[in-house]
């Protein structure tokens, strides 16, 4: 099979570019821990309200500047509907759903994960800038999907 020299150069360029992209995201994953939220932990969706810590959703302080937030999604609301977070806090969110698929998203932050009945999702973020943040559902969940929102205030 004959391949022209010009095409060899082009393909070397294309594959080389892919290799660079891959090296960048792999380095970021290993060195800086930039990996997509990928928790593998199951939970019985029928027993969420009696399974700690989801029996008491909300924000917990773990250590100085270190917090955990437990959320339960159900049509068409997030529980808790509001939390106050001190500026600079590093918050690890744990989220599950008791009914259908939801999407846990705070626009313009790195907080974005699918929420699946039967599984616990986890995503972490450091809130540096004070202000009011909008927490939405970004996966279609039914007729009231557009009103499924909550707020996070960073003080």
């Amino acid at each position: 099979m004959h391949i022209y020299r010009s095409e060899r150069i082009w393909m070397a360029f294309g594959i080389g570019m892919l290799a660079v992209f891959l090296a960048v995201i792999t380095t970021a994953a290993i060195v800086d821990g930039f990996v997509p939220p990928s928790r593998v932990q199951s939970i019985d969706p029928a027993k969420v309200s009696e399974t700690p810590p989801f029996d008491h959703p909300g924000l917990r302080k773990i250590a100085e500047g270190e917090y955990e937030a437990y959320y339960v999604g159900q049509i068409f609301s997030w529980n808790p509907s509001h939390i106050d977070v001190p500026a600079g806090a590093h918050v690890t969110f744990y989220v599950t759903s008791i009914d259908v698929e939801h999407g846990f998203s705070v626009p313009e932050t790195g907080i974005n994960t699918m929420v699946t009945p039967g599984w616990v999702s986890s995503v972490a973020y450091t809130f540096k800038t004070p202000g009011k943040y909008l927490l939405i559902c970004n996966e279609y969940c039914g007729a009231g999907h557009q009103v499924m929102a909550a707020s996070i205030e960073v003080k």
Binding site: M1, G14, F34, P36, S42, N112, I136, Q146
Partner: protein, 555 residues
């Protein structure tokens, strides 16, 4: 003239066989056109809803319309066009006295499935969007309809495969005609990929009927995306088939390389399926290592697209040189921009440069967190399936319909303007969507004002711009409909029936390695790759306690 009996005992000739095949193909293409027109109307209303110009009434709410738009465009329009196109490229390059019974059976099953699902969607019993994520519980007829649409495509694919097998038996040691090669490799990929969605439907159907009590949500998502990404490549392979084999005839060019075209389709067969997890980067229940593996394989499936880009531009340049043109500007100006068959495909290629690189961003593992489920993704698939794929199919229809009917194309200048309007509308709409997505605007949401929450208002301007782009696109679709219907009604017969021919290849004399034609063996390799890519994540899910969700109708 060869005359022989078909299994049904009907004596036929090659000419009669061809006419019967043409009618079958034409029916597929007009069915696709009908889906496109209805789907575009819903698209227009979609744009107006998102720009807060209108609010859909409760008896035909936003999500019902969104489901109809997605299913009609992504599943019905594309699939019917591709089944028609690939039947055409197989029948026309393998002249044979054949029965079209299997082909018509496929079409009929596809149509019955489509109508069944469409009725349930329009009746509001299946507002689950085209991804129908469980445990949103749709009517059983919706799932059955979806399954029939797929089973129908299997019959069409089987017909294509049997014709290629017949050709190989008749002509041992001869390479498969290039357009038929592309078709059969596409359908082998499709057979493997659609097993995922059919398995999913086999889980959802008894659950929807109340026979089983719940579904494993992550498993059904994985089965869906095992199918969902190759679906994208099914569309792209349809567009590539036209770019390689049909578009060069518009400028008197040839296919750049026979072997490399076959190699591109071969890589697409191998790597289209084991990449689906890049749609599930943000899913729980799948660990990060498997997602990384699918990132690498997704990058791999970009390689045939790089090859294709080179081959297309090389074909332009070689033809231009033969016409005495030199250099980039002379070559570009020499190309037949006034021919809608060329302009549709070429404008689609330009859009695909943006769409392809956007796809690489989406596939880039942790970067997905910035764009997942935002309007960026909507912008991305409109500039891919709504750009290179749809615009190429429309351009090709301007060639195929006159070929298949013997009628002159109605208002060709109108058709030409239509392709440019589509391009302008798509650029405006898609870029606005990408931009809104970067700002965090969610997709699939009827109203994103969130009671005036801070931040949400920054998404409005882009949605107004997108609705203007959508309006231009809708006008373009109406123009396409006028040309399609007009060609039929005007019934202006061409005096000499225009003879259709696929492009010849530049390196006709160069031997093509026959290994590139071994569709069965490469199919087995593709299955092995899919098993390798999915065995790990599925085992991982099954190895922890997993629970079924009962699901419900939430609309």
């Amino acid at each position: 003239m060869a005359t022989q009996s078909t299994p049904g005992g009907i004596p036929q000739t090659i000419e009669l066989s061809r006419a019967q095949g043409d009618l079958l193909v034409l029916t597929h293409i007009y069915t696709a056109t009908a889906a496109l027109i209805v789907g575009a109307l819903f698209g227009l209303l979609q744009g107006f809803s998102r720009a807060n110009f209108i609010v859909m009434p409760p008896w035909f709410d936003y999500y019902r319309m969104l489901t109809a738009h997605g299913v009609l465009m992504a599943l019905v329009f594309t699939t019917f066009f591709i089944t028609g196109l690939m039947t055409f490229s197989t029948y026309r390059t393998i002249p044979r006295v054949r029965s079209v019974r299997l082909g018509w059976s496929g079409y009929t099953v596809m149509l019955v499935g489509t109508l069944m699902a469409a009725i349930e969607i329009l009746a509001g019993n299946a507002s689950v969007l085209y991804t129908f994520y469980a445990p949103l519980k749709a009517s059983p007829f919706f799932y059955l309809g979806a399954a029939l649409l797929i089973v129908g495509t299997w019959l069409v694919g089987l017909d294509i495969l049997l014709n290629v097998v017949w050709f190989k038996r008749q002509n041992p040691g001869t390479k498969i005609p290039l357009p038929a090669h592309g078709s059969v490799f596409t359908f082998v990929m499709w057979f493997i990929a659609t097993l995922g969605v059919v398995a999913e439907v086999l889980i959802l159907l008894p659950w929807s009927l109340g026979i089983t009590k719940g579904v494993d949500v992550e498993l059904t998502r994985m089965l869906f995306w095992y199918f969902g990404h190759p679906l994208v490549y099914f569309w792209i392979m349809g567009a590539y088939l036209i770019w390689y084999n049909v578009v060069p005839t518009a400028y008197g060019g040839r296919v750049f390389s026979d072997s490399l075209t076959r190699l591109a389709f071969l890589i697409l067969l191998l790597l289209s399926t084991p990449v689906g997890l890049h749609h599930q980067f943000l899913d729980p229940g799948v660990s990060a290592g498997w997602k990384w593996l699918h990132t690498v394989l997704t990058y791999g499936v970009a390689i045939p697209s790089f090859m294709t880009m080179f081959a297309l531009f090389a074909s332009f340049e070689l033809a231009a040189r033969r016409a005495g043109k030199r250099g980039f500007i002379e070559t570009v100006r020499w190309l037949p921009w006034g021919d809608p068959v060329f302009s549709g495909a070429a404008l689609g290629m330009i859009l695909f440069i943006g769409g392809g690189f956007g796809g690489l961003i989406n596939a880039s593992y942790s970067m997905d967190i910035l764009v997942h489920n935002t309007m960026w993704i909507v912008g991305h698939f409109h500039i891919t399936v709504g750009g290179p794929v749809a615009l190429t199919f429309i351009g090709a229809a301007y060639k195929l319909v006159p070929t298949l009917t013997g009628r002159r194309l109605f208002a060709p200048k109108f058709a030409l303007v239509q392709t440019y309007l589509w391009f302008i509308g798509m650029v405006l709409m898609s870029l606005s969507m990408h931009w809104a997505g970067i700002l965090g605007s969610p997709r699939r949401t009827s109203d994103v004002t969130y009671f005036g929450a801070a931040g949400a208002e920054t998404w409005h301007g882009q949605m107004v711009a997108a609705s203007i782009g959508g309006t231009i696109l809708f006008i373009s679709v109406v123009m396409f409909a006028i040309v399609a219907v007009g060609t039929y009604l005007a019934n202006e017969r061409t005096s000499e029936r225009e003879e259709f021919a696929f492009a010849e290849t530049e390196d006709q004399a160069m031997p093509t390695p026959l290994v590139l034609d071994m569709v069965g063996r490469w199919g087995a390799v593709a299955i092995a790759l899919a098993v390798i890519a999915y065995a790990g994540p599925i085992y991982e899910q099954l190895s922890v306690p997993h629970y079924l969700a009962p699901g419900m109708r939430t609309w």
